[in-house]
């Protein structure tokens, strides 16, 4: 995009915006973005709705908003926030990142699930007992997301961590060009 003289910016966030690099079109800007990405470590809990609400105000010019997230948040609030972007004529592409275990729930023995965002949040369960319920809940969540994105004409691209991002991205772009 920088080669096309488009401006590219970066926002990292958890419950709030942690780092904001405004959009620039200069080639050096790429290094700044890459350095920022490299320096980031995931921590703290996420609150997408509040962060997106904050970002809407900062993004004055129409642009392409690429969101890379697991989207683990309240879907209704998330969709309201994204709707604001859409209202500002931003195009949105969401790359939803999944751990394959989150999709398959392949556990058999007793397992203690510890939250990535809050280490104190742990649950010891028999996975066999809750697998079906979990998968149903997951499908329900993904369906809600898909319908919401579809309603607001947002592209939702699921990606798993066990596949190269380039492959997933290439597959998406090929699909997009085909439209």
């Amino acid at each position: 995009m920088l080669q096309q003289q488009d401006s590219v910016g970066l926002v990292t966030f958890d419950k709030q915006v942690r780092r904001y690099i405004p959009p620039r079109a200069r080639p050096k800007h790429l290094h700044a973005i890459i350095n920022e990405l490299k320096s980031q470590k995931p921590e703290f809990e996420t609150e997408l709705g509040d962060v997106f609400h904050e970002m809407v105000v900062k993004m004055h010019r129409r642009g392409l908003l690429l969101i890379i997230s697991d989207l683990f948040a309240d879907v209704d609030r998330l969709m309201k926030s994204l709707a604001q972007f859409r209202h500002a004529n931003h195009e949105i592409i969401i790359f939803q990142i999944w751990d394959p275990d989150e999709l398959d729930f392949p556990f058999r023995q007793w397992t203690q699930f510890q939250s990535l965002e809050a280490a104190s949040n742990r649950h010891l369960v028999d996975p066999a007992q809750i697998r079906r319920a979990y998968l149903e809940k997951l499908a329900q969540f993904r369906d809600q997301l898909a319908k919401g994105c579809n309603r607001h004409r947002i592209s939702l691209v699921p990606m798993t961590t066990d596949q190269p991002h380039a492959d997933s991205l290439a597959a998406y772009l090929a699909l997009r060009n085909a439209r």
């Binding site: 697991d70 683990f72 948040a73 751990d99 275990d101 989150e102 556990f107 023995q109 007793w110 397992t111 203690q112 699930f113 510890q114 939250s115 990535l116 965002e117 949040n121 742990r122 649950h123 010891l124 369960v125 028999d126 066999a128 007992q129 809750i130 697998r131 079906r132 319920a133 979990y134 149903e136 809940k137 997951l138 329900q140 969540f141």
Partner: protein, 737 residues
């Protein structure tokens, strides 16, 4: 409850394994960092309590599975509160109904075949070392072996060769015999099994009081046996039987006609037309009658028959009909035909004038053809002698002796006369004006131990006062000699005028004295008593026309004929007996060369001082040997094995064959059986167990011995729990989202 493989029951401890696995699983968990915690939490939050409950249920089910598996392998046995008897030997008595009703044909064969099969199955399953006794109840209780035996195979072999067809069962006597047998047996565990068709006729006799008595007898035994009732057979209808043969029981001579009445009973509810009834004499068809049988009724048919030869004969009526029981389609009776009956008339008031002697009328009455110079022969042959001529030699030739107005006898004569009666002779003592009342009282009555059944008391009536005479009471006569006069056309005994008689006193019914004929004023006229093997009759009036007009009456001839011939025939041991009663024949014990076998009067034989050997052919064709035993001056043959109805032919080989006919109650011909409530009531009264088959008995016996194995049920529960575990596992995974 106990276990056949007790050690394996400890495998139930394996129930801890699921618990341990559960605890280990919970303690040895892995930790996973999880991003989609909000999804997981929502599921856990909604189902938290349910997860715990489901886990508990699943854990219990999983713990139960190894417990059930261990129980199953340990083979649990229910025993109740009893100690198990295991394979301990048993003392077993089986009462097997062998009465002829057991020959009735059911759809599955005869009842007896079913009974034998059941008995063999039970005996065959007895533990090693058991002792077995089988008592056949038909006719009279008869053990299959003399002693209980320890070889069940031998019992089974003999049982399979046994037959039914015996007389009616005396169940009370059979049970008594069984209890007596059981009390002499050796094992601590004792069983009494009754296998019968349980006909009401056999078992109604055992009322509730008798059943209580049996129960008390059983309870009183030092080792109480288990009593079991096993009914065999279903009710069968449509049976036809010859119920009885009726004919006069007086002595019969060659050529004399005998009217035989056969009573044929239809036990079915459907009338049967054109039924043939055949009368056979000594196995040869004599006459045939065609009759129609009413439903559930008895039809009579009359056969006149004569015999052309003296001796022992058998008459038999047979009904030819296709019915479920053949044994009762015939009925037989033994008849003795006499060459002649020698009667010794001792005249106490002789006269040279016609009809003035004391015995003149009597002699004419007994031998009317001889006096009438007719070509027909008299059955009775008389010899008239004076009192002083009575001696032992003369008495030996006589069958019947008549003392007619005899004043008294010499002591030696009295001794000979007493011996004559004692050995089976018949004596008729007639009163008169010459008799010495004191002598008769002291020497012939002898305080009730003498020959006379009563004392000649004071004279009654007046021979000169006509119009004040007494008469015989008109009644139905029970005595066989007078049954003939129950038919009015044969004469009216009450028409005779008895002008004078002696009062007969001291008649003791307990000593066997009975009044046969009584006068209308209440005085006895004719009294009878058995004395030894013989019989004595005492007439209160004279046998001539001095004291009564009896000799002038037309019925005097048949009266005296009936009286004398009945006395002559009645002294023999009966030839028509009930099944189970002994067949007894008396032979004179006259010293003579061996094997002379000379026949003497009235069917007696000259034999030898030593025991005679006789052969007896039974109704089933088998031949048995009987030895006589001395009794006084006679040899007595006694054959006890008369349990089977039919003809028993007893012979020495060189002399005439004597026939005995054993018959039984024809109640057995009613092939109905006790219904369920009746059986239950009987069983309760006897404190017994009612079963329906030998298989049921064996199952109960196994239960008593080994308890009830329930491993199959435990295995079913195990499989059910395993299936339940699968189902629960699947079901518990479906939780609320």
């Amino acid at each position: 409850m106990t276990f056949l493989n007790g050690a394996l029951a400890f495998g139930a401890a394996a129930s801890l394994i699921p618990l341990i696995i559960h605890i280990l699983n919970r303690s040895r968990f892995k930790t996973v960092e999880w991003g989609a915690m909000h999804l997981l939490e929502s599921v856990i939050k909604v189902n938290h309590k349910r997860f715990r409950l489901d886990q508990l249920i699943l854990l219990l089910v999983r713990c139960a599975i190894p417990v059930l598996l261990a129980l199953c392998l340990a083979k649990p046995v229910l025993t109740g509160s009893r100690l198990l008897e295991g394979d301990s030997p048993v003392s077993l008595v089986i009462l097997l109904d062998t009465s002829y009703s057991m020959d009735a044909v059911d759809p599955s064969g005869t009842r007896f075949d079913s009974a034998v099969d059941a008995a063999c199955a039970i005996i065959g399953a007895a533990s090693r070392g058991s002792e077995v006794a089988v008592i056949q109840t038909g006719g009279r209780p008869t053990p299959l072996f003399d002693q209980p035996v320890f070889d069940p195979d031998a019992v089974i072999r003999k049982l399979k060769q046994s037959q039914a067809g015996y007389g009616a069962s005396d169940m009370q006597a059979s049970l008594d015999e069984a209890i007596a047998t059981l009390s002499g047996m050796s094992h601590a565990r004792r069983e009494l099994i009754v296998i019968s068709d349980f006909q009401p006729g056999d078992w109604d006799a055992i009322g509730s009081s008798a059943a209580d008595s049996i129960r008390r007898q059983v309870d009183a035994m030092s080792i109480k046996p288990e009593l079991t009732l096993l009914p065999i057979g279903q009710p069968v209808s449509g049976n036809v039987s010859v119920e009885s043969l009726e004919f006069p029981r007086r002595a019969l001579g060659v050529g004399q006609q005998l009217a035989v009445r056969a009573n044929v009973r239809n036990h079915g509810t459907t009338p049967i037309d054109n039924v043939r009834v055949i009368l056979r004499i000594d196995g040869v068809e004599s006459s045939v009658s065609q009759i129609a049988l009413t439903a559930s009724g008895t039809t009579q048919t009359l056969f006149p028959c004569t015999f052309d030869k003296a001796g022992s004969h058998v008459i038999e009526a047979e009904v030819t009909v296709d019915d479920p029981l053949a044994d009762d389609n015939r009925y037989a009776a033994a008849v003795t035909i006499w060459d002649s009956i020698n009667v010794l008339l001792v005249d106490g008031d002789p006269s040279t004038q016609p009809l003035q002697s004391e015995t003149d009328y009597l002699s004419i009455a007994l031998t009317p053809f001889t006096f009438g110079r007719m070509r027909l022969a008299d059955l009775v042959q008389t010899q008239t002698i004076l009192a002083k001529d009575v001696n032992e030699e003369l008495l030996k030739t006589a069958r019947v002796v008549v003392l007619a107005n005899v004043s008294k006898l010499e002591p030696a004569q009295l001794t000979a006369l007493t011996a004559f009666v004692q050995d089976g002779g018949a004596l008729l003592v007639c009163a008169g004006n010459k008799i010495d009342l004191d002598w008769y009282r002291e020497n012939m009555f002898t305080s009730g131990t003498g020959l006379l059944p009563s004392i000649f008391g004071a004279p009654r009536g007046k021979i000169d006062e006509t119009g004040k005479s007494a008469h015989i009471v008109a009644q139905h006569f029970e005595h066989p000699a007078l049954e003939f006069f129950n038919e009015a056309s044969n004469g009216d005994l009450s028409a005779a005028e008895i002008r004078q008689w002696h009062e007969l006193t001291d008649i003791d019914p307990n000593a066997g004295s009975t009044v046969v004929v009584r006068l209308d004023n209440g005085d006895p006229l004719l009294v009878e008593r058995r004395f030894g093997e013989g019989v004595v009759m005492q007439l209160a009036t004279a046998c001539d026309a001095d004291w009564s007009d009896l000799p002038l009456r037309p019925f005097f001839v048949p009266l005296m004929q009936q009286l004398v011939t009945t006395m002559a025939s009645g002294i023999l041991p009966p030839r028509n007996i009930t099944t189970g009663e002994p067949a007894v024949a008396v032979f004179a014990n006259v010293p003579s060369p061996p094997d002379s076998g000379e026949k003497v009067a009235e069917g007696r034989m000259k034999g030898q001082d030593a025991s005679l050997t006789l052969s007896v052919v039974t109704p089933d064709g088998s031949r048995r040997t009987v030895h006589t035993l001395p009794q006084g001056k006679t040899q007595v043959a006694r054959f006890d094995g008369t349990q089977r109805p039919g003809v028993y032919a007893m012979s020495t080989g060189s002399a005439e064959t004597l026939h005995f006919v054993a018959e039984t109650s024809r109640d057995e011909s009613d092939l109905s059986v006790l219904n369920e409530p009746g059986l239950v009531s009987l069983s309760q009264n006897m404190a017994s167990t009612l079963i329906k088959s030998s298989a049921e008995y064996l199952a109960q016996d196994r239960l008593r011995r080994h308890g009830q194995e329930i491993w199959k049920y435990v295995l079913a529960a195990l499989l059910a729990f395993m299936f339940l575990e699968l189902v629960l596992q699947q079901r518990f995974a479906r939780v609320r989202t």
